[in-house]
């Protein structure tokens, strides 16, 4: 296969969630001298972007999103060490957790998959994550974005508590904070002092990319 054929097949096979094919194509591409950046940015990420767009339009459904994300994850395991060697700037690092008092994780996991699909390095600190866990995660991983998920109206107030704790730890300026979960709304996100909110996984990825672009632009300005 030519590099162009490999890129096209990677794009197509990722979109239908064919994990073995995506892994084979990734290895084949590397074997003929394609760069990991090319495979990631010219095939995998555009494919997952299209998956997200289709999901937002209602043309793609949750299982399709999951298997596309899984197919891409398999390729990323091969690519990540190589990308680290070449020092390519990742799209961003995303620290994600479900807040204290809450054990719901299906929505959070969906968002994680789509974020990985968009090229984010995702660190999942799990469910029942209290302020100290978020702070430790920020200090250890230096994420661009911290994501907090809550499924209950009783656990949503933990957003504010976490944000206050992050502020107190002197880390608020270093991170963008996004919140989400079934009962959460944009108004609530504004009130609790978050920088961003999204109603579903595909929108969350778009918001995350926008917020990082804005942040990087303002830092470079």
């Amino acid at each position: 296969m030519t590099p162009d054929e490999i890129l096209k097949n990677l794009y197509d096979e990722t979109m239908v969630g064919n994990a073995p094919a995506v892994l084979d194509l990734t290895n084949e591409g590397l074997a003929i001298g394609m760069t990991p950046e090319q495979i990631l940015f010219e095939a995998l990420i555009p494919s997952l972007e299209e998956v997200g767009a289709r999901f937002e339009r209602g043309d793609y459904f949750v299982p399709e999103m999951l298997i596309a994300g899984r197919a891409m994850s398999g390729a990323l395991e091969v690519l990540r060490p190589l990308l680290a060697l070449t020092g390519v700037e990742t799209v961003g690092t995303f620290l994600m957790g479900t807040v204290k008092g809450d054990v719901h994780d299906i929505g959070k996991n969906l968002v994680n998959i789509m974020l990985e699909g968009a090229g984010f390095h995702v660190i999942d600190i799990g469910v029942q994550a209290g302020p100290e866990k978020f702070i430790a995660g920020i200090e250890e991983h230096k994420p661009d974005i911290v994501g907090m998920s809550a499924f209950l109206t009783t656990t949503m107030p933990m957003f504010k508590a976490n944000i206050n704790a992050i502020e107190k730890a002197g880390l608020r300026d270093q991170v963008i904070i996004m919140v989400g979960g079934a009962p959460v709304t944009q108004e609530y996100a504004d009130v609790c002092g978050a920088d961003g909110y999204a109603a579903d996984a595909a929108t969350a990825v778009r918001r995350a990319k926008d917020l990082i672009a804005k942040r990087r632009a303002s830092v470079n300005a």
Binding site: F61, P63, V103, V191
Partner: protein, 292 residues
Amino acid sequence: MHTVLSSATKTITIGDDQPFCIIGERINPTGRKKFQEQLRAGDYTAIEADVLAQVEGGATMLDVNMGAPMIDEPAALAAAVTLIQQITDLPLCIDSSVVEALEAGLSVYQGKALVNSITAETERMDLILPLVKKYGAAIIALPNDEFEIPEEPARRLELTKVIVDYATTKYGIPIEDIVIDPLAMPIGADSTMVVRTLETIRLIKEHVGVNMTLGASNVSFGMPDRHTLNAVFLPMAMTAGLTSAIMDSRTPQVVTAVRAADLMNGNDEWGANWIAAHRARQAAAAAAAAAE
């Protein structure tokens, strides 16, 4: 085992020898932006339409949830319960994760309510079970704890036993007033989710024997043609031993599937309910035709 619930004037029974208890899920602001805005402005008019549509659709009970950001939930729940009891005589399921809201709802409720819900977390049980006892209500309990929502049916059974033991021994709640939610998860997120829920239902039926209810519409989240999935899932769960669901009671396809399963499972003697529902539809169609 019979769980008996009531409003001021109507009594209903949940049990495996009874027609399935359909708890209408609609009175809930989650994901309903306009409804949330109305509630924040103290406007409860949308609730009336939701009540009527669900009663007409064939609900046995109605769930009432006022949980949304920036709403005074105790006040809203009390107001909603009072309003709904003026519109319908169906018993209510008072649904909140806020203890004060549950108490506010229970304090104005006329009859014996179903409270939604507790988990196996001791702290939550110690806050909510005294209210259940005080108001003589029944309680829905989810077999998850502060660490996880267990995937394994055996673990869900274990937590069910913990809850039943705790509620009956420490608070003297009659076992028939405990309704377990075996946890329905989206099939779209994992194809084994429903198999696990069905296995949990069988285990709880066999080893504990209490009534069960669950949020049936969760199952079809993120999938196309949700009505068909809901309409197939419910009869499967009923056959496994589910006796109630918090569900879509406005979609005829879903409600009809439940009533057909009642008939097949031997809970509609001589098909009397099934035939009566058919006649009611015929009459409604004839009336609509005559009006044209």
